[in-house]
Symmetry: C2
Amino acid sequence: MKLLEVAVIPGDGIGKEVVPAALEVLNAAADVHGGISFRFDSFPWSCDYYEQHGKMMPEDGLQTLQNFEAVFLGAVGDPARVPDHVSLWGLLIKIRREFQQVINIRPAKYFRGLSSPLLRPNDFDLLVVRENSEGEYSEIGGRLHKGDDEIAIQNAVFTRKGTERAMRYAFDLARKRRGHLTSATKSNGIVYSMPFWDEVFKDVHKDYPDVQTTSTHIDALAAFFVTKPQVFDVVVASNLFGDILTDIGAAIMGGIGIAPAANINLNGKYPSMFEPVHGSAPDIYGLGIANPIGQIWTAKMMLDHFGYLELGQHLLDVVESVTYDGIKTKDIGGSATTREVTSEIIRRLQK
Amino acid sequence: MKLLEVAVIPGDGIGKEVVPAALEVLNAAADVHGGISFRFDSFPWSCDYYEQHGKMMPEDGLQTLQNFEAVFLGAVGDPARVPDHVSLWGLLIKIRREFQQVINIRPAKYFRGLSSPLLRPNDFDLLVVRENSEGEYSEIGGRLHKGDDEIAIQNAVFTRKGTERAMRYAFDLARKRRGHLTSATKSNGIVYSMPFWDEVFKDVHKDYPDVQTTSTHIDALAAFFVTKPQVFDVVVASNLFGDILTDIGAAIMGGIGIAPAANINLNGKYPSMFEPVHGSAPDIYGLGIANPIGQIWTAKMMLDHFGYLELGQHLLDVVESVTYDGIKTKDIGGSATTREVTSEIIRRLQK
Ligand SMILES: CC(C)[C@H](C(=O)O)[C@@H](O)C(=O)O
Ligand SMILES: CC(C)[C@H](C(=O)O)[C@@H](O)C(=O)O
């Protein structure tokens, strides 16, 4: 019996509802598998925690997390109580950065039973590999002068190492999938960082002659996610471009409430972190109607990460069948509660 | 009789087909109006020109253009022959910058007769005001080290003046429209320039207490353009965010081939420039099937700019009726030629 030790941070708002649901599902999946079991240690780090302690997590929070095999996170943020830059940079982004979770992966696919806003959602199935450690999200920059003369400068920083790492990861995935990789660029408008990005992409491609590639400017690419998502296999993008594309990916699936994400540590020194794309939705917190699918699909990505690919696929198939049969929450057009959706997923998993 | 002197740059590829079409339409519109007439002076600056002269336009090109009331541009670029950064920065972006065309405006609306990729395109009608002179498109940055250690840095530069100018322009437009303005931000991830953007937005809002505002992160906003475009009135965005949003805007209308744009000079020292959103589409150049609507709608924006709002609206209504009746080019699902669409628009204009 393999024991998997996971640090759990439900976080804020509906994170506190969907995380327990997903843990139940993970336990049920482990039972089905027979050879694994989970130990979940839960940490209350959140905006609540901030209001009591003046920080989002304890000083030794990262040390505590470091001993786990993965971090399973719900949602962070509640801007009415704590400014976003405090809550997000104090927890979510802090963990991404300190634990060198340099890659963020987010799938988007045609999901049976969801109503896509697209007229013909076809059969798209794509994966965005987002550089997760640098680029436009660097903390380098500042402001000068006051009043009418004020200037703000933000540096986007692209290193060869960081860029190449994300691209290799994406090429490897493309090789295992349908053999096509799209690079999100904007070298026609952003004249230092993006031509560099393009050059690195060309260089790395030399090691993957079997993978077909396309480079597309982010403006056109965002539009293509709407007009022809089915042409994409793997897409590699900078931190900002990946952020934008994955929200469009969630939108065309038919709901931000179902989209999952993984923040991957590559050097094995720190745990990876799994978190859904959606936020904490304070407006519906406590009503029992939050959509648990984003968190459950995120659990599936954690199973994949641990190497239980078949189990993960089975779980996703079950989730899709439950959705297809109309047992779904309000945000995606149903009337079921978080509890009902979760129970039905567990029931079908065990069958 | 008011004479309007317009510099015309057909540019590359289908620009050379749709610009003449739009000029015919403008002449017909002037006839209908009765009180205006156009003088068009055409300049062959393009990738062809580059191949002959080693530059995209003559040294005194800007001086030549400066005497006109407006510049009417087709499309620039043909990457198989001239690298984009040479063609675009040598012509399109050069004119935007040197003529201080600090604002870029691009409408997107539900367009009768087009098939939107959205299931329920509803009745959206939005306008993106894009800061057009600085931000992420600054030419400031560089590269350091070689090989594995190489780093590229790109500075996004936001000045109070440039930011405020775009926002005031957007607030003024919102006031004349439905009274709502959305600001595209990303202050939760980009921690210097975007919080600055938010602060300026709050400050400027004080002068427009009658306009309702929302600030939305670009990732969510891009998704909302797909899931609920009808909630937007005017959107103000940085250079890059505006670029991305307007391509999504074109996509949800049902085709990049119809989307127009205006590059506005505000200080009256230089002409403004009108250009469609689409590119030069070298692959279909010469077939006579290019969609002229983007260029014709762009002509409508030029009429608006000259103050002929009613005439502009009439022209757009005619274009929409022709599209609705199925007289449209292949890219938007019809089988008509550039010539047929243009002639029908002119015929109905004159009725
Ligand atoms: C060609 C490119 C530099 C340009 C831009 O990004 O400004 C284009 O995408 C546009 O939107 O006009
Ligand atoms: C909250 C925000 C900083 C974050 C990001 O942009 O990385 C979020 O949008 C995401 O995609 O995980």
